[in-house]
């Protein structure tokens, strides 16, 4: 399978530290001074209603957006850790090539064909290795995108709703891989709307509302006794405006 590289963290140092994170695009402030300290490895789930800023937050953590403020992973700056990150987008971007060529493109130097085949096998795509990647179904494309991300052996895995609108079979495969990566010490930050999925995977939950973090607590506490009224309303299935 893949060889994840655990994020070596000092126990006294947060795995993820975000201080005064702000993002403005076209004169509109979209992330408004976010502060967050995650001391746990495992899966941090980012939840919130549509437009809350979840994807922008994730993209900022990956350095894709010009956010202001401090982002540190295990005490190291974003620029120092960018090469240790991998991201899976909600709509997978696949090269106009075969499945295995998509994997080869992202493979770090020295990656063997056996490693690629093992990962393809994990996502049940080994029999489609020579097929054009963009001919795959939505679920298969997303599985390929996750396998490609894991091939880079990330220490930090960022996932932007990777299972939205997928078939249950694909969701199961993706969740299993995420859990394996997390168990192996990879820090997973996962944006999802799916409360059931959050309960299955999350170790802690960050709740965003209108560009602000209104709550950060362990998954157990979050689902049992959410503190913020926005999170309470969200979990109750109310519309958040």
């Amino acid at each position: 399978m893949f060889n994840p590289r655990p994020l070596a963290a000092n126990l006294n140092e947060p795995v993820l530290a975000v201080r005064s994170l702000r993002l403005s695009l076209d004169g509109q402030e979209l992330l408004r001074g976010l502060n967050l300290h995650c001391y746990e490895a495992g899966v941090t789930l980012v939840m919130g209603a549509n437009g809350a800023g979840k994807s922008l937050f994730l993209r900022s953590l990956h350095g894709l957006l010009p956010a202001e403020g401090v982002i540190e992973f295990a005490g190291r700056s974003l620029s120092e850790t960018q090469s240790e990150q991998a991201m899976v987008f909600q709509k997978p971007t696949l090269l106009r090539r075969s499945v295995e060529q998509n994997m080869q493109f992202a493979a770090p130097e020295g990656t063997s064909i056996a490693q690629i085949n093992a990962l393809l096998s994990e996502v049940h795509l080994n029999e489609k290795a020579t097929q054009p990647a963009r001919r795959l179904s939505g679920g298969e494309q997303q599985r390929l995108a996750l396998a490609r991300a894991l091939l880079t052996q990330p220490k930090i895995l960022l996932l932007d709703e990777p299972t939205a609108s997928l078939d249950p079979g694909s969701v199961l495969i993706i969740e299993r891989l995420i859990q394996q990566a997390s168990d192996a010490g990879v820090k997973v930050i996962f944006v999802s709307h799916d409360i059931g999925q959050a309960k299955r995977l999350a170790s802690d939950v960050v709740f965003l509302h209108q560009g602000k973090i209104t709550e950060h607590s362990s998954a157990q506490n979050f689902f049992k006794q959410p503190v913020s009224k926005e999170a309470q309303a969200y979990l109750a299935g109310e519309l958040l405006i």
Partner: protein
Amino acid sequence: MLIDAFSEAVILIGSADPDLYEIMLLSIEVSLTALIISVLLALPLGTLLAISQFRGKRLVITCLNSLMAMPPVVIGLLVYLMLSRSGPLGVLGLLYTPTAMVIAQILLITPIIASLAHQTMEDLHLEYSELFQSLRVAKLRAIPVYLWDARYSLVTAVLAGFGRAVSEVGAVIIVGGNIDHLTRVMTTAIALETAKGELALALALGMILVAMALLVNAAVMFVRTFAQRNAYV
């Protein structure tokens, strides 16, 4: 008269008339040479324009798009002025040679291929840019990836350039001079033979040109169908 000319044209083609084939081969040679050089210039230019950010980018794109509509006779005139005896490149003695025709065709089709390539690459860049940022793919490594992944769309642009080059008459007649056995190509020969009333040769060359246009279009269709079937576009 028309039927006679048409019959003679068919006989000329069927009998492999040496004059006709000499003209046809020179046309293909000139246009293919121009095409190869234009492709080497236009594809990287179009790609760089699509993936780079710099001051004046919009101006460059506007100029490029405007050059697509440049009248061939104006290009012919400019090349003539450059290559004429009193021009800055007159010393090279290239006027009224196939090389001068190649230069004119390069100037004519490079903006067309570059502009079409730019549009294709811009769409691809929009799709790939976040992934490449995420995978930290350097710009120099990205260019061949863009070129390879857009290859089927680019073939269409290249064939469009070839079609434009081989059917062009205004520029090549100015810089080539339509000299028999030296710079006479299909389009200039058609113009001359028609003016002389020699319709058979003009019609034969016209039929070959139409056949080439059909062949190019068929190739474009084939490439597009293949690419769409494999989700490569």
